[in-house]
């Protein structure tokens, strides 16, 4: 249990750091970005709206930094992330629409990528030294390509040229959103290419990690023992793989952040209506409340995903359950 409590503590601290960074950045950055923004907006929006912006950054209160901080925290706890400057709606209502798309897309991609990579890595580790090893440099190449570049190339070849996949957006203009099969299958169809490109970019990491652990495991006595007992090959592989997968799962929680970072840009390329696309718009329009809201929501979601991965690790590795383990 200690492990889970420790991790919970870590994520609580991380969440607090993210919130505090979010609070301090606009207030302490050189060049006073908020003042510049207000200067730019004057004349374009009503004085009332400018007052609202000033208030949301604590500029209208004549409060000290500490008092502003507590006002900010109170607002956050009420789910109040401020009002978007360009879209004119509250940040939380905008995010409520785009977060499910991102969670769906990246969640599915991560699970597929992890599963495929682990299986491939197990096999590569088992047949180490064979001709299959020549897959490794290829996989490395795909890993080194930025996610968004690979996505662009995939979009071009398989979307625009070959017309194998529908592109741009999360569903066709001709279907109405709702919980019915027509819509759901349409969403799946539109999600295929984005998922494939995220998987291609991220699978190599899992594969190589698993391969290296497999090679180390295969040298262990317990695997030799399993062979000596005359177990069928499949059972032996399973035996080794079950032990080799543990570091992968331990790393899962840390890798999620990296995958999310890359995948956000894939949304951009495919015009997917998720958080990544929104973030770019917000950055281009210097919509600071929206940028901050997105950052906070992404961070908290990643932390939640990390916690799930940690619980899985805890459930799979009995050693973490003994109190001696640190």
């Amino acid at each position: 249990m200690r492990l889970v409590t420790r991790r919970l503590g870590l994520y609580a601290v991380t969440a607090w750091v993210a919130v505090t960074v979010n609070f301090l950045l606009p207030r302490l950055m050189p060049g006073n970005p908020i003042q510049t923004l207000i200067g730019k907006l004057t004349g374009q929006v009503t004085p009332g709206e400018i007052r609202a912006i000033r208030l949301s950054f604590g500029l209208g209160f004549h409060q000290g930094l500490i008092a502003q901080y507590f006002t900010y925290l109170t607002q956050l706890l009420h789910g109040n992330l401020g009002v978007s400057i360009t879209l004119g709606a509250t940040v939380s209502s905008i995010l409520r629409q785009s977060v499910p798309w991102t969670v769906g897309l990246i969640g599915v991609s991560t699970i597929v990528s992890f599963a495929v990579g682990t299986f491939a890595g197990t096999w590569l580790g088992w047949t180490r030294g064979s001709r299959l090893d020549s897959l490794i440099p290829t996989a490395t190449f795909f890993q080194a390509v930025p996610y968004f570049f690979l996505a662009t190339v995939m979009l071009l070849i398989f979307g625009s040229d070959l017309h194998w996949f529908p592109v741009l957006g999360a569903y066709s203009q001709n279907v109405t959103p709702g919980w019915n099969w027509t819509f759901v299958s349409n969403v799946i169809r539109y999600g295929e290419l984005p998922v494939i490109s995220i998987v291609l970019s991220s699978v190599a990491g899992w594969m190589l990690g698993m391969r290296n652990m497999m090679i180390t495991m295969v040298g262990e006595d317990f695997v030799l023992m399993a062979v000596a007992k005359g177990l069928p090959r499949r059972r032996v592989i399973m035996h080794a793989a079950r032990n080799a997968i543990l570091p992968s799962i331990a790393n899962l929680s840390l890798a999620i952040g990296l995958v999310v970072s890359g995948a956000l840009l894939v949304e951009l390329v495919f015009n997917y209506p998720g958080v990544g696309d929104l973030l770019l718009q917000a950055v281009l329009n210097e919509d600071y409340p929206l940028i901050q809201g997105i950052f906070l929501v992404i961070t908290l979601t990643v932390l939640a995903a990390n916690l799930i991965a940690d619980v899985a690790y805890f459930a799979l590795d009995p050693r973490t359950r003994t109190e001696v383990a640190t």
Partner: protein, 322 residues
């Protein structure tokens, strides 16, 4: 100190060649570029030809020159970020691993927090608030990238330091009264060299990606040529969808090649650290030369070590190392 014996597997040689090529390009790129990358003197959207090896942009700029000039900015930022991040992770990782106790708790917490926060969104938030003139400064951008990229290295180094801290040579240094920082940086750090090198390469790899990404979404100055801004201009002029592949494919390939090169060199370092991986990286011919089984067999993953010849009677049965 032992010299690094990087295994001469084809992977590592290829990696070193690629990385070497791009380092040379970083230095000479802007000098050998045939044109000023910003000059709009040519017709727009020419395809590749003898005059313009990679064609021209929609503004009539020479793409090949942009690629050559852009190499420097991309690599310099990545190098600055890699260097700063490695120094940070070295300090935090070794201190945490060696000191233990409360300092370890604090420093580990710090690096875990930075690992858990997704890097790119944090980068974007920080960058969005930067004054515009700082966005073109390679060192400012490098510093910010290093801030999001040091934590992984610190974690690895901490674990390695913990396995070293009770070795005899560290114990000896402690007994003769060496200062703490001397033990950490003169006794322990040199023994972590392969791990340090690996984490340095990894951070450079990360930084190339992070910098290019920031530039691609237009968050660095668009007037500084790097591979990311090239992609930014290509994307904003719809080059991918109008089949102007010569505009957006070359920078992408360059980024991927740098990354592949660094990763391949890193494999070499991994094999150096873990001898079991080393044997699996050998070709069958090399394996035969070292007296290892032609095909590694189960339970007998050979550990490949080049050592002085042992007397005949002590030599292990070929293929049954260990």
């Amino acid at each position: 100190m032992k010299t690094l014996r990087v295994p001469r597997s084809p992977k590592v040689v290829t990696g070193l060649a690629i990385v070497g090529f791009f380092i040379v390009l970083t230095v000479v790129g802007p000098w050998i570029a045939p044109d000023n990358p910003s000059s709009t003197a040519y017709p727009a959207l020419l395809g590749p030809s003898a005059h313009h090896w990679l064609g021209t942009t929609s503004l009539g700029q020479d793409i090949f020159s942009q690629l050559l000039v852009g190499a420097r900015a991309t690599m310099v930022v990545a190098f600055v970020a890699g260097l700063v991040a490695t120094l940070l992770s070295m300090t935090v990782g070794i201190a945490a691993g060696y000191l233990g106790g409360l300092p370890d708790e604090g420093l580990s917490m710090l690096s875990n927090v930075f690992l858990a926060i997704p890097g790119l969104p944090l980068l974007i938030v920080i960058d969005a608030y930067l004054p515009v003139n700082s966005r073109s400064n390679a060192f400012v951008i490098g510093l910010i990238i290093s801030l999001t990229g040091w934590a992984w290295g610190a974690r690895v180094l901490r674990a390695q330091t913990m396995s070293l801290r009770n070795r005899d040579f560290v114990e000896a240094a402690r007994i003769i009264g060496e200062k703490r920082y001397r033990i950490m940086f003169s006794e322990i750090a040199p023994n972590l060299l392969p791990v340090l090198a690996s984490s340095f390469l990894f951070t450079i790899l990360y930084s190339v990606g992070a910098y290019v990404t920031l530039a691609y979404i237009g968050l660095t100055s668009t007037s500084v040529w790097n591979w990311g801004t090239m992609l930014y201009w290509a994307q904003s002029n719809n080059a991918p969808l109008s089949n102007e592949w010569y505009w957006f494919v070359p920078p992408g390939i360059c980024i991927a090649l740098v990354g592949t090169g660094l990763a391949l060199v890193n494999f070499g370092i991994d094999e150096f650290i873990n001898p079991r991986l080393r044997a699996s990286g050998l070709s069958s011919k090399q394996r035969k030369e070292r007296g290892l089984a032609r095909r590694t067999r189960l339970g007998l993953t050979p550990v490949s070590v080049t050592r002085a010849p042992t007397p005949r009677s002590l030599q292990p049965n070929p293929g049954v190392a260990e």
